[in-house]
């Protein structure tokens, strides 16, 4: 379980998150939604242990992540706005480098599997700087899935992807809960997100406005206009 307790984060004088308490368990798919500047990215970054709480806690399986968080890091895969890839290295070299930091055994096999997953196999020898934004995003996704994480944290994962890749990724994400993995993701396209999750966490101005089943969320209160009106049970 990945959990936050009264999580608060300041950037200088500005509070990006204020007393956020929520939790995600394995087998769950959670959609993080909110306007720009609501704190989605900050929350995801803190769960991925890239940013440290100003106050409050992030807990991984009941233990505080404040220490080195090695256990948590090995079980978390994170995709962000930035790709975390070296432009001067090829796709495979990038995966090999980041995989080696996770001390993975059978690394070559896992790299092949991750490349296969995102249909990047033929491009494994291409330099990242020569890839389009969409292909870089797919490489970044492959990097995040390389160590087979239990908790998948995705910040706007559909950025730059073509429609075929979007479908592929949606299929993949839908399967995650069945595999006993937890998914927490954000996207600005509400319908796209709603199709992938059972639970909605709505953030606004750094606070949780709603945390519960997606189907019964008070859309009007949250200011969400649904494309075809709320669907009645799928």
């Amino acid at each position: 379980m990945l959990e936050t307790r009264n999580l608060t984060k300041f950037f200088g004088d500005l509070a990006a998150l204020k007393e956020v308490s929520l939790s995600i368990t394995r087998g769950e798919s959670v959609f993080l939604y909110g306007p720009n500047g609501a704190g989605k990215t900050t929350l995801l970054r803190m769960l991925a242990s890239l940013a440290r709480p100003s106050s409050g806690q992030v807990l991984f399986d009941g233990g505080d992540m404040g220490g080195d968080g090695a256990l948590a890091k090995a079980s978390i895969g994170f995709v962000s706005h930035t790709t975390f890839l070296y432009s001067e290295l090829t796709v495979r070299e990038n995966l090999k480098f980041f995989g080696s930091l996770f001390r993975l055994s059978d690394l070559e096999k896992k790299i092949d599997a991750a490349l296969e997953l995102f249909d990047m196999r033929e491009r494994s020898g291409v330099f990242v700087r020569d890839l389009s934004r969409g292909l870089q995003q797919r490489t970044s996704l492959a990097r995040a899935f390389l160590h087979d994480p239990d908790f998948v944290l995705l910040d706007e994962p559909f950025t730059g992807l073509d429609s075929q890749s979007v479908k592929n990724l949606q299929r993949l994400l839908l399967r995650l809960p069945e595999q006993g993995k937890a998914l927490l993701f954000s996207t600005h396209d509400f319908e796209q997100g709603a199709a992938l999750a059972q639970r909605l966490v709505a953030l606004k101005a750094g606070r949780v406005r709603y945390n519960g089943p997606l189907a019964t969320a008070p859309f009007e209160d949250l200011g969400i206009v649904r494309a075809s009106g709320p669907k009645a049970d799928g």
């Binding site: 242990s49 890239l50 070296y86 480098f97 080696s100 930091l101 996770f102």
Partner: protein
């Protein structure tokens, strides 16, 4: 063992990135050569003076070439926030520091050899009589200088006007590493008239180790947000 492997992987990654564009080494060497060349003409005619000033010329060239390299070292990390990408893995930040510092040392070391060759050639001068001592001074001087350059490079990567910021941080704090290296190099080239073969090396080593340890211990806070 596992830690050494991680350090090695980071080190090799830096070498590979460098091999692909060869920008860092090329610019460091050309820049260093230019400084040595300029001083050669600036001091023209006064050969005795030139040789007396040679250690200072070399170390100033090393200092500037180093700053150039440390900036470049974090350019590839900054582009797609790769330094953060590394901290997503369960890796001790100090290992990242050591890996990058070693790569920086190697690049600066190569540039130093090139500059020393050029100086020997153009100034018609031989470093060979004091080679062992000079290698030790250069090693420890480079260690401390690269350690500070690595942590300040990572810090400056978070600022506006990065190049200026790195220089402003690096020079006052690395001041004594450079001054003592110049002093010791000069002593060595004069054939240690004081008879104190080890003293110069020990002073440079002592100061460099203090800064290296401090940078090693503090690096994790640089990566943290």
């Amino acid at each position: 063992m596992a830690s050494l492997k991680i350090i090695w992987n980071i080190f090799v990654k830096d070498l590979r990135v460098e091999w692909r564009n060869r920008e860092t080494l090329a610019s460091m060497c050309v820049f260093g050569l230019l400084i040595v060349f300029l001083f050669n003409f600036a001091f023209e005619g006064a050969r005795e003076e030139t040789l007396r000033l040679l250690p200072a010329v070399l170390w100033v060239a090393i200092a500037f070439a180093g700053v150039l390299g440390f900036n470049r070292s974090f350019a590839s990390e900054r582009e797609n926030a790769c330094l953060e990408g590394m901290t997503l893995a369960p890796v001790d930040p100090s290992l990242i520091f050591v890996g990058k510092m070693l790569a920086n040392m190697l690049f600066l070391g190569v540039a130093e050899v090139v500059m020393a060759f050029a100086a020997a050639l153009w100034y018609n001068f031989s470093f060979l009589p004091a080679l062992g001592q000079l290698v030790l001074i250069a090693f420890f001087g480079t260690l401390g200088y690269a350690a500070l350059g690595t942590i300040f490079g990572a810090i400056a990567a978070n600022t506006r006007m990065r190049e200026v910021m790195l220089t402003v941080l690096q020079f006052p704090i690395a001041f004594w590493i450079l001054m003592l290296s110049i002093d010791s190099t000069a002593e060595a080239l004069r054939g240690n008239p004081g008879g104190d073969w080890f003293g110069g090396v020990a002073r440079v080593a002592g100061i460099s180790l203090v800064f290296t340890i401090a940078s090693f211990l503090l690096f994790e806070y640089v990566l943290e947000e």
